[in-house]
Subunit: 148 residues, 2 copies
């Protein structure tokens, strides 16, 4: 299971992707629209800002914007920031590798080999899907068709 926090983060980003480009969206608006506790969302967006996913403007007329284009922000990238490693075992994590202290002979660990397959399959999906894929899919599909 992914955490509630990760779900909030992904939904908030799709909300930003849906907004007019260059127009900041306020935390309160996202919170209301997506039914996310406002103070919790503040933390999440701040975290995403620190990781270079979004930018913010302070004061009146302030709010948040995507830093990169929505179709370059992957689900995997966001999950790593919010929930930590994608891998089901510490010894399979790319970004936070840690040896399993109770098992020796990592190369021969059969459990590990099974979960390596799981990790691969998971990453394949998560890093090939972007926020753009999740945001206003109907409109995107239409545009895609019109441009074809």
């Amino acid at each position: 299971m992914i955490t509630q926090k990760a779900k909030y983060a992904l939904r908030a980003l799709t909300a930003l992707a849906d907004a007019d480009a260059g127009e900041p969206v306020m935390i309160s608006d996202i919170a209301a629209q997506q039914k996310i506790p406002k103070k919790f969302l503040e933390q999440i967006l701040l975290d995403l800002k620190h990781h270079g996913i979004v930018v913010s403007r302070r004061g009146k007329q302030g709010g948040y914007l995507l830093l990169k284009s929505a179709d370059t922000i992957t689900f995997g990238e966001i999950l790593r920031i919010v929930d930590g490693p994608i891998a089901p075992l510490p010894c399979l994590s790319i970004t936070a590798y840690r040896r399993c202290d109770d098992c020796e002979g990592e190369q021969n660990c059969q459990i590990r080999q099974v979960f390596a397959k799981v990790a691969d399959a998971t990453r394949k999906v998560l890093f090939s899907t972007t926020i753009a894929d999740a945001a206003q899919p109907a409109r995107t599909a239409e545009v895609t068709r019109l441009l074809a």
Copy 2:
């Protein structure tokens, strides 16, 4: 990440699979061999027993045995018992479906559709891999080769 408990359960089962058929293996032996805290392992095995994965014999010469053949016990089955649902979202769980109370319109939820793919990919691996695949793989591979 799967829990430590799940890792213990899978390793304990491979230990049982490696034992001579019909010969009970004591909790203490598994605990020592696999470096699992004994009292914790007791709980895990008891749970697996209640779920019909293993059987036990009490008293002297007692211990645990697999109830089914190792090649019919899947990783997915065990993970469900020990860690709960495989699905990354409650609304995607087969065995413990729960509506996400903060999102409405489940059919249109794009987040859900992405994680549905993750769940499918994960299940494909976990339910096609058995304890036999993880137990003494070298010997099994050899036997396979000799039989080919």
